[in-house]
């Protein structure tokens, strides 16, 4: 319980810091005015520029965290996150394609379609009929799909006019620049629906953890539950990508980080801590990215990349030690 309070307090402090720190540093008074509808420049900075950005970061981070923790539990592999397996880059590529050809579909739909196509490709390539697919195979095939989508993305950018290419580059790195309340409502609305859907499946996830045979013996429709959970997780990551771009490593890190911080064991509480940890990582990474180096605003993806790459290497070395890879 104490550790849960620490995590929540951390989120609150990070939120306040993100609202106050930036090109112009504001005081707590401005925060008060901003929240309660004051109309000075400081209050407007908070309400119009920083608050929606913070809301998007929290929402997208939570969605990515939920997605990562779900897939990691489902595939019983700490590497099985949507960003490692190419789902988020698939979602990102779909959006880039839509922007390039001027498609006017809603971005969350495009992104979900891209994520699903990537996921289906991974499963189709990793699957051998009549044999169980090792999770490590899924992860490695996913890495391959991720590289491929990145390559296609890079190719597409060379075909764009230079202004568009810069924008696309920023987008593909993962960025929270210039997010408005529309984006915030989008991720929180879609995220809430998907999180509810996930909550209804948490018990099933708890049974799947015991192995497919025991889960089936306990009355679970194993295949159906697995597909439903995977689809929900892909949709959650796609919802995050639709507002923040394919920010790397947040989904990978959120689950283990959240569990480490709260000591949660049941699937429900583990997913909740993953959501909180994802939101926290996203928010802090964005804060450091835009205010860490004075006068230089980096996209958030650069920051999570710098954080996540060493984590991934560490994780890989542990898996190799345990003989899982």
């Amino acid at each position: 319980m104490k550790r849960v309070i620490v995590l929540v307090a951390l989120l609150v402090v990070a939120t306040a810091a993100s609202l106050l720190i930036g090109d112009v540093n504001l005081g707590l008074g401005a925060l008060w005015q901003g929240v309660w509808g004051g109309d000075g420049p400081a209050a407007l900075t908070i309400r119009v520029i920083r608050a929606p950005r913070v809301a998007v970061a929290l929402g997208a981070g939570a969605a990515l965290g939920l997605s990562g923790a779900t897939l990691q539990t489902l595939l019983r592999n700490p590497l099985a996150a949507p960003d490692i397996m190419g789902f988020t880059s698939g979602a990102g590529l779909a959006i880039l394609v839509a922007i390039t050809v001027g498609l006017t579909l809603p971005l969350p739909l495009v992104s979900a379609a891209g994520g699903l196509v990537a996921a289906i490709l991974v499963v189709a390539l990793a699957h051998r009929p009549g044999r169980a697919t090792p999770a490590a195979t899924v992860v490695l095939v996913g890495l391959g799909i991720g590289f491929t989508t990145t390559a296609i993305g890079t190719f597409l950018m060379t075909r764009l006019p230079s202004a568009g290419a810069t924008e696309a580059q920023r987008w593909l790195t993962g960025s929270l620049a210039a997010r408005d309340w529309g984006h915030a409502c989008q991720i929180w609305g879609i995220g809430a629906v998907l999180a509810l859907l996930l909550a209804l499946q948490v018990r099933g996830l708890g049974l799947l953890e015991l192995g497919n045979d025991l889960a089936a013996g306990l009355g679970l429709r194993v295949e159906r539950t697995r597909w439903m959970l995977a689809a929900t997780a892909v949709a959650l990551s796609a919802a995050g990508v639709a507002v923040a771009g394919p920010v790397p490593f947040v989904a990978l890190m959120a689950g283990p980080l959240g569990t480490r911080m709260t000591g949660a064991q049941r699937p429900g509480t583990r997913l909740t801590s993953a959501a909180a940890a994802g939101a926290g990582v996203m928010l802090l990474a964005d804060l450091v990215a835009r205010a860490g180096i004075p006068g230089l605003q980096l996209p958030i993806g650069v920051m999570t990349g710098a954080l996540g790459a060493p984590y991934l290497l560490w994780r890989l070395s542990r898996e190799i030690e345990r003989g899982e890879l």
């Binding site: 045979d213 306990l218 009355g219 699937p267």
Partner: protein, 259 residues
């Protein structure tokens, strides 16, 4: 006692091209302890998995109370048949109490809260395996024997009239093997639970079972009471094992002495 009899009718089981069980018909007597015996690779576990509906027969049916189990609702079936697989997976850091609670899944609706019946079933199961005082402990810090008792508590909490176990004593030393089998017999005698297990040790099986099913490379070799099944000819046919059979000085059941 209602007749909750699991029955195999002209059952053929296999994986793809490979046939493991061919045209087998037999019944698992209700409210008895039955053990499936046989050499490695003869299809013991496959048969047990078919009884638990974990695999679909290539031909024939498995029936419970005369109805094909593949036609029944998954959750309704899970309230009648529980299965403990050979190697269930332990979620990292799970406590014994939490593990046992998951055994109540077939009795809980999507949104139904934890009920008194659920709590009582879990408490009863923990009591039965003597793990009540360990329920707060983490599964991964228990000894092998305690861990197996925790898994048993999970399937006992499921509260089914039929209990299927795939090699429940593998990895355990002799003391703990006896302990697990005594627990199962206790359950069988107290609650009238039909217990069906796959075991490797013929002597232990003969000692604890009312009914034996002996499979060999060519299918069913014999079934019936230990006295009927454990004979030199049957062991020769099933295991290609030359052995002498003598009455166990403690239980009077047949005992195998390999030559």
């Amino acid at each position: 006692m209602t007749e909750m009899t699991l029955r195999a009718e002209a059952l053929t089981l296999g994986y793809g091209e490979r046939r493991v069980i061919d045209d087998l018909s037999l019944a698992l007597p209700a409210a008895r302890m039955t053990t499936i015996l046989g050499p490695n690779g003869c299809g013991k576990s496959t048969l047990l998995r078919a009884f638990a509906r974990l695999i679909r027969p290539q031909a024939g049916v498995v029936t419970l109370c005369g109805e094909d189990i593949h036609g029944q609702d998954t959750r309704a079936l899970a309230r009648r048949i529980a299965i403990l697989p050979q190697a269930p997976l332990a979620p990292e850091g799970i406590s014994v109490g939490d593990l046992v609670k998951r055994g109540r899944a077939p009795w809980r609706g999507l949104l139904s809260p934890w009920s008194r019946a659920d709590a009582e079933a879990c408490a009863g199961a923990l009591q039965a395996v003597g793990m009540t005082e360990h329920q707060e402990r983490r599964l991964d810090e228990l000894s092998g024997g305690q861990r197996q008792r925790a898994w048993l508590a999970l399937v006992l909490a499921q509260g089914t009239p039929l209990l299927l176990l795939d090699e429940p004593t593998t990895w355990l030393d002799l003391t703990h093997q006896l302990e697990v089998l005594s627990l199962l017999r206790q359950r069988n005698r107290d609650a009238g639970t039909t217990v069906v297990s796959v075991l490797h040790d013929i002597n232990l099986a003969a000692r604890f079972s009312d009914h034996l099913i002996l499979l060999g490379p060519g299918g069913l070799v014999a079934e019936g009471t230990p006295e009927v099944v454990v004979t030199t000819e049957n062991l020769q046919r099933a295991f290609r094992l030359a052995a002498r059979i003598q009455p166990d000085p403690v239980t009077d059941r047949p005992m195998v002495i390999p030559l």
